[in-house]
Symmetry: C2
């Protein structure tokens, strides 16, 4: 699953650490998701999409 977190993070001028804190996970989790090592849980996907004011589908693309 692909995602636009890195781009959104850049647009909002957030470091991985800052984003991690805002959605309450570790920096490594953000890094791993950005690098496609695994997909976020649904609750985390919701937190991220709310933070950026976007739908989950706009941020995460299945396949």
């Amino acid at each position: 699953m692909k995602n636009k977190i890195k781009i959104l993070r850049a647009e909002h001028e957030l470091t991985q650490q800052q984003l991690a804190e805002k959605v309450d996970v570790s920096r490594q989790t953000i890094n791993a998701i950005e690098k496609g090592k695994f997909d976020p849980s649904l609750p985390l996907a919701f937190k991220i999409s709310k933070l950026f004011n976007m739908s989950i589908e706009e941020i995460f693309q299945n396949e």
Copy 2:
């Protein structure tokens, strides 16, 4: 996290077993998600939302 799977399943006249097969998980997984025992993974949430032609946000409500 709440969801409308049971309702959607009824509308589409699908058993838990049939839905499980369509989204490629076990019946127990569907049952557990319906009963709120745990949240689906993001990939599974995508499969379910595509099956019902709805957005993830329409089916799953965070908190």
